[in-house]
Symmetry: C2
Subunit: 413 residues, 2 copies
Amino acid sequence: MTDIGPADQHTVRRHNCALVLDTIAASPGISRAGVAARTGLTKATVSSLVDRLVTASLVREDGRQHRSGPGRRGTSLSLSPHGPHGLGVEIAVDHVTTCLIGLTGEVRDEHTRRVDNRGRSVGRVLARIAREMNEALDRAHRNGIVVGGIGVAVPGLVEAANGWVRMAPNLGWRDVDLITELHRRVAVPFGELVVGNEADLAALAELAAPRLHCEDAAPDSFVYVSGEVGVGAGIVLDGELFRGTHGFGGELGHFPVQQRGPRCSCGARGCLERLAGQDAILDRAGVDDVDTLCVRLEDGDRTAAAAARSAGRLLGTALSGVVNLLDVSTVVLGGIYARLYPWLAGPLHTELTARVVSTPWRSVDVRRSTVGPEAAVRGAAISALRTIRTDPASYLSRSSTHRKSVRTTEAGD
Amino acid sequence: MTDIGPADQHTVRRHNCALVLDTIAASPGISRAGVAARTGLTKATVSSLVDRLVTASLVREDGRQHRSGPGRRGTSLSLSPHGPHGLGVEIAVDHVTTCLIGLTGEVRDEHTRRVDNRGRSVGRVLARIAREMNEALDRAHRNGIVVGGIGVAVPGLVEAANGWVRMAPNLGWRDVDLITELHRRVAVPFGELVVGNEADLAALAELAAPRLHCEDAAPDSFVYVSGEVGVGAGIVLDGELFRGTHGFGGELGHFPVQQRGPRCSCGARGCLERLAGQDAILDRAGVDDVDTLCVRLEDGDRTAAAAARSAGRLLGTALSGVVNLLDVSTVVLGGIYARLYPWLAGPLHTELTARVVSTPWRSVDVRRSTVGPEAAVRGAAISALRTIRTDPASYLSRSSTHRKSVRTTEAGD
């Protein structure tokens, strides 16, 4: 139901601004008149909004449009590659990664610091993350890149309403108010700072991945499985990330796959992550790291192959439950599972075919991540850009206040 | 993105018609001017649409509105209880039930025929269903009730795109084109005939249930579990029924709860339905029917209590997987599980608390269905009404064609 009273004029302006930006993003090269025709807005409204978007570098004007029909040629509009970038940050157990992504999707300045965050105090880990973030922001500033927002990926339960990290067992975190803590340590620019679960954000990166070949394009609905020390899932339904009521959705790691299995760190028995997570696979294969595991698998080592097969079967059991419940036709394997794909895929598929009741009418496509190990950090940057894309009017007003304050400071110098 | 060209005028008219009907439904007693103010449509557009809705008995005019402010009093509008009704049909293993529901939610003419549909040919079962439907349509006609659409609930996999029943194991059905088969046997009136899974439709009834007491109101997101011979789930996310890509979602019955458990009719081992469905519970309790089981439980019979406890634990294991994945805070138990609630709830809750990783921050509410055993048939009737509510313009044109053809026939008599 639409309800447009005078009190909602502000909402309407925000909506129109996003509509104009979406229209330009969907049809690069479109003119102001073209935007007006597509959106049903008046030319005056469109022109005024486009001017503000150009001033804030969200949109660029690109000379004269080629004339394809009668009438005057207009200026060609498109998203600006020199506009605000999203800064993505991934906090993992063994590394902190940052990257910048622009509105048109180019990835810049990807930077990984290998560290061991296990067993360290929250304060020390936060200090380390803040250092990486401040350095990334400095590099962006030196290169003339405006950071329009920051997204942070965390391997744990993140409450959507407030960004609190409720639990990140492999970091040893519980109830960390990450947004406040980072604001205290990082010179966050005028954009927003958002926090999300790493599997959710990886799924977002998968969804946004360039669709060069039609058959490889991410489908509208899929489940992304992130295999690391922990196991998580990012659920995309009808082209939108699904996070659940509180943001706690996608907790695949504690799917019960063995009724009387070994006890998991969560307290329950037989959880998927305890039996088919990275540590379980390495243990069973008798190796110390994933590189060695892959070498052994390539060499046809039987113990390594049995470990991968067992993980594939258990993952297949859990995913059959997911597919029966959500009726998605695609599963995307990420993290360690993407690397082990050649050895996991067979037993996983066998289990899915046996257990998904609708397989006689539609098959389940199991593919490996097209984005790779950078999926979570890229998804974090994309989530920061999304806050701009869904509400450019707020970004415009924040950035204009920022420009004014910069001018005031410079004038006062 | 909105794209309103001349080609889309028809779409706009349909959208406006639905908007006007929604506005009247949300504010019974509203005037034409009120609808215009709420929707932003012109008074002329609103008046013309309301006149058509009144003619088709979707909306009724109710004398003069009380004047609450300055200006002329308008005629008060509301959904008509005498307008089209949805005919709901539930095809179950041991009964066929029909009911009529009006636009304002009153249930009329609920009618159950006890039958045994197991082991009968599809043709015989269809003939029986058609007889029940034709009788219900006759009764409606005799009582002056216009049936505006028919919804059919089936215990099986229903393909959303075409209404084919792909598999209904307990009826012995596979690949039945139910809509075509029913059109051949039933004098379907001008409305639409839609088919859905019984747990999905029961969830819809739960969602639409009158919210007399706030604390009992169905929440926006919940999972409805239908416990019968088969076990199914209806998933409601953000107030909408979620059916999955093909309509096959919610197949909870084949959730793997015991890795090396007994073989299920689906071919896999250890499925929830094989271990905690109606037959499994009755077997384990050593009784023949649910009534006897309930008597034994009331009497404190140990074998019966153990059977219920085991079912509660297994159901809790499966539902912990569902809640971890979907982050819904409410589970609604229906069918036999609603009757066994006092004995199931404890062990079910213990399992959820142990396995749902986010329970320290939010609890999971397990409640029994407020609608009761009629949930599926009522949801079927509601789904028929939804086809009218979401596209009243199509209903108007079908009903006007129908009225003309009736007049032509009568004139020719």
